[in-house]
């Protein structure tokens, strides 16, 4: 695979007069844990949806796993896993049925689905729960199941949109150790979070504000350049109050 996993050039998305993502230019390498931070409404989910081939850009360029987001959205979907902001599991299916469903979506053969299902149930520690409805699972399990389901087809790149929101401190740490293992195995992880301690676990962190990229560096360098001791303070300093866009464009 290409050493560049994700590349964008002036990637832009407008909704009517409103610009949700404004000329985003980034390059993410293979095996990188790339943190995508920003205040609510900064444009993170919109950018991720464009990169996953789910939303067409208004302007600009982007390639994911070497495929163009305008022309090859189907090829992109085969090469990425996407865990959406409110985990994309079906609450009224059992664990086992959810995995079958996702395996089907990714076009895996029934035999391969069975094999990966067992591995996934094992890995997430869901053995006793397999026949239970997904809605009855604690959130920490749900979140690991959602990650596993998004990766059934073993994609090289994964987009995680707030995978740890609402999750307790222990489950968050367990989830991050999975992310680290994935990156160590060469997967590229693109992740958003509102927990600033998690920003420290990323190789590089980008911060968006009102649709624009306003900072991009390693957590260490960001703390140094902004003269702060932790990412929380860097974030608060950068994401200040007012939306700078003129009112008629909102």
């Amino acid at each position: 695979m290409n050493e560049i996993a994700v590349q964008t050039q002036n990637l832009t998305r407008r909704f009517g007069k409103f610009t949700a993502v404004d000329r985003l230019t980034i390059t993410v390498s293979r095996g990188e844990i790339f943190g995508f931070l920003g205040a609510n409404g900064a444009g993170k989910t919109t950018a991720i949806r464009m990169l996953c081939g789910l939303l067409l850009p208004s302007e600009g360029e982007a390639t994911v796993a070497g495929f163009d987001v305008y022309k090859s959205s189907e090829a992109i979907k085969k090469n990425i896993g996407y865990m959406s902001q409110r985990f994309s599991l079906y609450d009224d299916l059992t664990i086992s049925e959810n995995i079958d469903f996702f395996g089907g979506v990714y076009g895996l053969s029934p035999a391969l689905i069975e094999e990966r299902k067992e591995a996934l149930i094992e890995q997430v520690g869901l053995g006793d729960f397999r026949k239970r409805l997904t809605r009855d699972l604690p959130l920490g399990f749900k979140q690991r199941l959602a990650l596993g389901s998004a990766m059934l087809h073993d994609p090289p790149i994964i987009f995680l949109d707030e995978p740890t929101s609402g999750v307790d401190p222990r489950a968050r740490r367990e989830f991050w150790s999975i992310i680290n293992e994935l990156a160590a195995a060469g997967k590229t992880v693109f992740v958003t979070t509102h927990f600033m301690d998690e920003a420290e676990y990323c190789h590089r962190v980008s911060i968006m504000r009102a649709g624009k990229l306003i900072a991009l560096d390693s957590p260490g360098k960001l703390k140094e350049s902004y003269g702060r001791n932790n990412m929380q303070d860097v974030f608060v300093a950068l994401v200040n109050d007012e939306d700078p866009r003129p009112e008629e464009q909102l």
Partner: protein
Amino acid sequence: MHHLIVDNVAKTYGETRALKGVSLAVEKGELFGLIGPDGAGKTTLLRSICTLLVPDSGSITVAGLDISRDVPAIRAILGYMPQRFSLYQDLSVAQNLRFFADLFQVPKHERPERLARLYHFSRLEPFKSRLAGNLSGGMKQKLALSCALIHTPEILVLDEPTFGVDPVSRQEFWEILHQIRAGGTTIVVSTAYMDEADQCDRIALFFEGEIAAMGSPAAVKGAFPYRVYRLSGTALQDLKTFLEGQPEVRGIQLFGDALHVSFSEKPSPETWREWARRGGFPGLRWEEISPSIEDVFLAHMAGETA
């Protein structure tokens, strides 16, 4: 005076014992936090307090009213924001707020001030006319919170109100809660953010349907039996592996760019230097810190304080 009394409440769903005999009492005007992992029983308790669910045993009274007998009277004085609150997706931000202000019969003359305060926290004013369905996840959550806070009930129950809310807005949200509390409202709130526990007057740590610790945040932290050190300045994963092999260590947790390590007794400076030398961590920095709620929580979950 106790405004809310929960006495030995138990609830079982199938084989799951969601609450195993929980008791607590909240004073009038107190800001009380329920802290615990998902599935620990917080939502079950909050829904019971709001008369939406009947426990199998035990009793709950709100302002002296019984949740199984006085449902309408309790609902009249209680405001509840459930975990996944749905707004009217096809109404705008402003229309949603007006709808809830009407529903809760907020007097017209009080509205401008309340709206100003809520818009300041949510930063949604520029997006007033946008449909709720077109907001980002966190913006939706902030609108839902604003709708819940548009009136001031006697007792306010919030289930994970800051889910997906960014750090800046979370701070402002807690300022609003403090203002509401200062007005005499009793607030019961659940959260997965440990830093929010410190904002409460008292907290209960929930694990598996039981309360493992309860008191002011200072008291809960003060009862932590170990000395905690913050370690930094070196490769944390290697340091963790090394310290796991040291018998003095009671627990190790990753906290962003540092490790928190707990000990029954304070290691001497010689011990620290010896560890740095033996483990090959020349840049190691260590300082004793007072334990945070997150330290206490993680230790409970790891069974270190059992």
